[in-house]
Structure formats: structure tokens, C-alpha cells
């Protein structure tokens, strides 16, 4: 009836289990097999057409004439890529946007490892943004002046993204804190702003920015078109990010703030050092989604006459020398956006996993 162990049981390595095979996953049961066959058939039906269009009949070199009555007109993209990427920026000066894009790429790559998240990197970004703006504008640093109305393509997309995030995020944090504040005026204002912006389509906000802003300002004061689009994008980014941050704040137990206050930290210190770092960590996935939406939203400036990537692509399509290969152009633009957004999403996933290791 009673038992006492005398010798400990050996700790053994786990037996090697064969991973469930791909075949089992594909043909494990009737439903799986059916699904497999169906998906394969659809793919087989579609692929040859796609291949013929893109490769067999595709035109890789040549001019507009070569593309008439042919498959995909890749030659168009070859000819137009500089224009799509840099818009109407004067051709002789295109090295400047190229350098600006380079600055952002370098900064981004530099900022990836966590150990580079330092104050210096932050200043690096600020310096980088300022440098890119000066370089693009040119006047202040003694280059030919290129007005913002002539900026275009990818640099615009990147600038709008980076700036609307850089300005929108701090604003979002303040709005989120304001919305949770015990002080009614702050709370109403933050809530009002957030809900107003979130209730309106970005498109109509861009309209307002492009049409109404001049009416809102005193006679004679004008604001740059690019800047106005930036303001609209920043407002929208701030409102959306604020809601995400608020969600994160709600997920931080009240005890954290109390513990920080009990140690003598001020409210601002408690927020900055204890609550916000946790709040933001908690919401990396929705934050990622929101940032991706913000990146994609820059494409909407198309409707207010700026030459962003998509807009420049469409202007390129109106060139009478070419038969307007829409699908190819949109595919290329989609690919650029996809690369940016997807890379960002993967990075955020990685971040979430590594930051998550802090907890058990």
C-alpha cells in the first residue's frame, strides 16, 4: 500500500517524434484531400495564363510601339521607373532625393538592433530628417532651389510616412494620456479630437487640408501643399495611434503606477519610466497594424495633387508614347508598398517575440 522511492528516475532525452508529414497534412482525410485537389486545380488553371502574359508575351525591352498588342509591358517600367520613383523632381537634381532616400534606408537599418535604441540614434533620426528636407529643398544649403510642389515619388511617400509617424506618435501618447486623465477638460478635448478624426474618412480630411486650410488662415498666409497633407496625415496617425496606446495603458495594472508613485517618482516620471514602456510593449501587434495603415494611407495624397509614388505612377501612365500598362505599373507600386509594410510587420513580430522574452 505504501511506497517510498529509493532511487531517482533517470531524466531521459525526449524521444524523437516524426513531425507530421506534409502529405498527411495535405491528404490526411477526405476533406483535406478535397481541398488540396481543388486548390491545385485552380492554380493549374490560372498559372499558364499568367505565365504567358508576364513572360512569354511580356515585352522587356523596346518602346511604346513594341508594347502594343503584347503581354506585360515591362519595358515601360524600365523607362519610367526613375519618374515613378522621383516624380517631377528635376532630372539633373535627382541625386538629391536619391541621397535622401539613402539616408532613411541607412537610418532604418541602423535602428533595427535593439542595442542601437539610444538617444544618439534619436538625434540621428532628427538630423537625418532635417538633412533630407534641406537636401530636397536645396536653397538653404546653397543648391538650386526645388520647391516642394516639385518633390515627388518615393521620397514623398517616405517623408510623409516618417514625419507623420514621428510627429503623430508623441501626440498620440499625449492624447491617450489626456483621454484617461481625471481632468474633464483634458479628457473631453482629447476624446473629441480622437473621435472626430476617427469618424472622418482620411480622404475628406485631405480635401479639407487642400481646399479649406487657405480659408482658415488670415488673408495672405499660405501653407505649403505638402505640409498640409502632412498635417492631415499626422492628425489621422495621432488619433489612431492614441487609441492603440490607450489600449496599452489600460493593460498596465494600476499597481505599476502606484508602485512608482510610492517610490517617490513624479507622475511624469512614472509614466515615462514605468507605465508607457509597458503599455507600448503590450500593444506591439495593433501598433504594427496601425503603422502599416498609416504607410498605406500616404497613397491617398493622390487625390490632392501631390506626386507621391502612386500619383507619379499614374502620371507616367498618361504618357502618350506608351500604351498605358496599368496592371504592370500598379503591380510595381503595390510591390514597393508591400515590401515596406511587410518588412516592417515582420520586424515588429520579431520585436514582439524578443521583447516578450522578458516575461516568463
Amino acid at each position: 500500500m505504501s511506497y517510498v522511492r529509493t532511487a531517482p528516475e533517470a531524466i531521459l532525452p525526449a524521444p524523437v517524434v516524426a513531425r507530421p508529414s506534409l502529405a498527411a497534412s495535405l491528404f490526411g482525410d477526405a476533406a483535406s484531400s478535397l481541398a488540396t485537389v481543388f486548390i491545385t486545380l485552380v492554380a493549374l488553371a490560372a498559372l499558364p495564363h499568367l505565365f504567358a502574359w508576364a513572360v512569354t508575351n511580356g515585352v522587356w525591352v523596346g518602346d511604346g510601339e513594341a508594347c502594343r498588342d503584347a503581354g506585360a509591358c515591362w519595358a515601360f517600367l524600365r523607362a519610367k521607373t526613375p519618374f515613378i520613383l522621383f516624380g517631377i523632381y528635376p532630372e539633373d537634381e535627382r541625386w538629391r532625393p536619391m541621397v535622401a532616400v539613402g539616408i532613411f534606408v541607412v537610418l532604418t537599418i541602423w535602428s533595427l538592433p535593439r542595442k542601437h535604441w539610444t538617444r544618439a540614434t534619436l538625434f540621428g533620426w532628427i538630423a537625418g530628417i532635417v538633412a533630407a528636407l534641406l537636401l530636397m529643398g536645396g536653397k538653404t544649403i546653397g543648391l538650386t532651389e526645388v520647391p516642394t510642389s516639385a518633390w515627388g515619388g518615393l521620397p514623398i511617400t517616405i517623408l510623409l510616412t516618417v514625419l507623420s509617424l514621428a510627429l503623430g506618435f508623441p501626440a498620440a501618447v499625449l492624447l491617450a494620456l489626456g483621454r484617461r486623465s481625471p481632468h474633464p477638460a483634458l479628457r473631453w478635448l482629447s476624446t473629441g479630437f480622437i473621435e472626430l478624426v476617427r469618424g472622418l474618412p482620411l480622404l475628406s480630411m485631405l480635401f479639407v487640408a487642400s481646399i479649406m486650410v487657405p480659408l482658415l488662415l488670415p488673408d495672405g498666409v499660405t501653407i505649403d501643399n505638402l505640409f498640409r497633407a502632412l498635417v492631415a496625415l499626422t492628425f489621422s496617425a495621432a488619433a489612431y495611434l492614441a487609441e492603440v496606446v490607450r489600449g496599452g495603458l489600460q493593460g498596465v495594472p494600476r499597481g505599476q503606477e502606484e508602485a512608482a508613485r510610492a517610490l517617490g517618482l513624479s507622475w511624469a516620471q512614472a509614466m515615462r519610466l514605468v507605465v508607457l514602456p509597458q503599455a507600448i510593449r503590450n500593444v506591439i501587434p495593433p501598433l504594427t497594424n496601425t503603422v502599416v495603415v498609416i504607410v498605406k494611407n500616404t497613397s491617398l495624397v493622390l487625390v490632392v495633387g501631390l506626386f507621391d509614388l502612386l500619383s507619379a505612377g499614374r502620371v507616367a501612365l498618361s504618357d502618350p508614347d506608351w500604351p498605358a500598362p496599368y496592371a504592370e505599373t500598379y503591380l510595381m507600386i503595390a510591390l514597393i508598398y508591400f515590401t515596406i509594410c511587410y518588412a516592417f510587420a515582420r520586424y515588429a513580430l520579431h520585436l514582439e517575440r524578443t521583447l516578450g522574452q522578458v516575461r516568463r
Binding site: A185, L186, V208, L215, P218, R261, S299, F338, C341
Partner: protein, 370 residues
């Protein structure tokens, strides 16, 4: 103080802040008034009564260019609502199988589901809409060579033409039956009895089909005229592209919301379901989904608001929703201020309405807590 509340020491800065905001708004209003006067821009809503004179390519409300601007805007609003409701319904339905595919063990289904969601979510909706419009207009044959997958259905680059069945004789009993069914469904849904509501919907559809057959039908088949098919029901390429683009886009998001909802149900619930002998599918259906549904309500609310707002992009492929009609109105009348104001108020009201309805529904089905 941690839980200080609104103490007197805070009133002053708060009043100051409010005053600043009010002053700022007043300053802007003064500027607008001054600018309008200075530039001789006519303001007022009198233009709304004037004939619009421009055409609207399609609408669910009747419209002709002799109608007023006001009516044109209402027609645009009708299209926006129609499109949004359709997209919301279809994309939610489509989201479920995609979410389940992503969670399944079937390698191909999982990869396809994942690839679809990644692809859709990481490219701008405008680009997708433009792409689909190109695909629809370039991919389909001209009217003369219409593709006929089924008798009475024609796919052409002018749109999809469907045979419809009109009713002979008195349609009144049937309409009454359908209306009664819809009202019953609405009441049940309002009470949070979703199961009964869906059964009622199904019953309504079945009863109406049976009654339709009993009452007798008259086919209305599209016929190819000189340029176009006429008769039957037409879905224009613009509408198809917008619907396709918005539905695919929204369903990728819906799938993620549904998947998130399922994943967010505590693991213990799955285990408890299994432990009392329920199968995996029963556990999903009886235990997990009802709880996931509740978790999904808030993100679904934003999703529906987003669908409404995304519908404004329909203008790039020529579907005349509210934004498009308002833009045309502004262009025709030059009355930007009024147009924008109408647009924004309409959207704010619609977004508010969606939130209100969803919150009411949410309150109805919320888990009861102590």
C-alpha cells in the same frame, strides 16, 4: 494625487485650456468669414435647390440630371450606404473561412490564407481598387462575345448581367411575409438572440422563394442591344471592382479579427469543453465562437466604420458614392465650404450611428458580470 478627481487646483488650468481652444476655433471662424467676404465667395446652401445637371452613372435611388444638387447628394449617400452594408456583410461572412483556414492544419489552406491576408493587408487599398478595375475591364470579353457561365448570366466588360424574376399578379402577400420576417429578425437580433435571428432569416428566405414559385414568375433575361445588354439586373464593372476590392480588403481584416477573437478565448475554455466530452468542432461552435463573438465586437465596430470610410475610395474607379458626388458638386458650384461640411457631417453621423448600434448590440450580448 493618484485618485484626485477634479480638484479646485485643476479648474484654472482646465478652464484656461478650454478658453484657448475656443479662442482658436473662434479665430479660425473669423478668418473664414473674413476670407469669404474679402474674396467675394458666395456662401449659403441655396445652390442645393438648383438643378445638378451632371449625370450620376449608377444609383440605387432614382436620379436624373434635372434633379437638384440636394437630391444628388442624397443619391450619393444612398450609394455609400448600399456599398458599405454590402461590403460589411460579405466580408464578415468571407472572413470566417479565411480565419479558419489560417488556423487549420492543412498546409496549403494555411499558406493560402496567410498569403492572402499578408498580401491584402500590406498594399494600399487604392492600388488594389485600381488593379481590380483594370482586371475587370481588361479581363472580361466585350458584349458581343459575352461569357455565359450559366443560362441567363452574362459576363462582359460592360458588367455582369443577370436574369431576374419579376412577379406576376399580386406580390403583396410575399412582400408582407418578407417584411414580417425581417422585422422579426431585427427584433431577435436586438434582443441578442442571434441564433433564432439567423433561423428566422433563413425561414424568411425560404418562405419567400416558395411563395414566389407559387405566385408565378416572369423571367427578365438580358438581351443584347446595339451597344449593351438591356433588361435583367446589371452590375457595372465599376461596382464589381469596388465591391471586389473592398470586400477582399475588408475580409482580410475581418479574418484577422475573427482569428484574434478565437485565439483570445481562454485556453481553459477549450480544455473544459474537451473535458466534458465535446468534440473539437462542437467546442469551437458551442463554447469558443460565442465567446469570441463578444471579444470581436469592439474591433468589428471599428472595422465597420473603416469600411464606411474606405468606401470613399470608390471614386478612383468611378463608382459614384457620396464623396464623388460631393466632389463633383464642389467642382460644378465652386462651393467648397458647404460641400465639405455636408460630407463631413454625413460621415460623422454615419460613423456615430454605427458605433451606437454596435455598442447597443454589444451591451445586449455582453457577458453578465457580478
Amino acid at each position: 494625487m493618484a485618485r484626485g478627481g477634479a480638484r479646485w487646483r485643476w479648474w484654472l488650468p482646465q478652464i484656461g485650456l478650454l478658453a484657448m481652444v475656443v479662442a482658436g476655433l473662434a479665430w479660425l471662424a473669423a478668418n473664414v468669414a473674413d476670407n469669404l467676404a474679402r474674396r467675394g465667395i458666395a456662401t449659403g446652401l441655396s445652390f442645393l435647390d438648383r438643378a445638378a445637371r451632371f449625370p450620376i452613372s449608377e444609383s440605387i435611388l432614382p436620379y436624373s440630371p434635372v434633379d437638384s444638387f440636394a437630391w444628388a447628394i442624397i443619391v450619393g449617400l444612398g450609394n455609400t450606404l448600399f456599398l458599405s452594408v454590402l461590403v460589411a456583410a460579405i466580408s464578415t461572412l468571407l472572413g470566417l473561412p479565411i480565419a479558419l483556414a489560417r488556423r487549420s492544419d492543412h498546409a496549403l489552406a494555411k499558406a493560402l490564407g496567410g498569403g492572402f491576408v499578408d498580401l491584402i493587408r500590406n498594399t494600399p487599398l487604392v492600388v488594389q481598387l485600381l488593379f481590380w478595375y483594370g482586371a475587370v475591364t481588361i479581363g472580361l470579353p466585350p458584349s458581343a462575345e459575352a461569357w455565359q457561365p450559366m443560362a441567363g448570366i452574362f459576363f462582359t466588360d460592360r458588367g455582369l448581367y443577370l436574369t431576374t424574376f419579376g412577379l406576376v399578379g399580386s406580390a403583396l402577400p410575399m412582400l408582407l411575409a418578407v417584411a414580417a420576417g425581417l422585422v422579426a429578425t431585427a427584433i431577435l437580433a436586438w434582443r441578442g438572440k442571434l441564433r433564432q435571428a439567423s433561423i428566422t432569416t433563413l425561414a424568411t428566405v425560404m418562405i419567400s422563394v416558395v411563395m414566389a414559385c407559387a405566385l408565378g414568375l416572369q423571367r427578365d433575361t438580358p438581351v443584347l442591344g446595339r451597344f449593351n445588354f438591356s433588361g435583367g439586373l446589371t452590375l457595372t464593372p465599376e461596382f464589381v471592382a469596388v465591391l471586389l476590392g473592398l470586400v477582399l480588403y475588408a475580409s482580410a481584416f475581418a479574418a484577422e479579427i475573427i482569428r484574434g477573437g478565437i485565439d483570445a478565448v481562454a485556453k481553459g475554455q477549450w480544455e473544459a469543453g474537451r473535458a466534458i466530452g465535446l468534440s473539437e468542432r462542437q467546442t469551437l461552435r458551442l463554447i469558443v465562437m460565442p465567446q469570441a463573438l463578444r471579444i470581436m465586437m469592439p474591433p468589428m465596430t471599428s472595422q465597420f466604420v473603416n469600411i464606411l470610410k474606405n468606401s470613399t475610395l470608390a471614386l478612383v474607379v468611378g463608382y459614384p458614392e457620396l464623396n464623388f458626388v460631393t466632389a463633383t458638386t464642389i467642382n460644378q458650384t465652386g462651393q467648397a465650404l458647404e460641400g465639405i461640411a455636408i460630407l463631413m457631417i454625413a460621415f460623422l453621423m454615419l460613423s456615430g450611428l454605427i458605433s451606437l448600434l454596435m455598442n447597443r448590440l454589444n451591451a445586449r450580448i455582453a457577458l453578465v458580470e457580478r
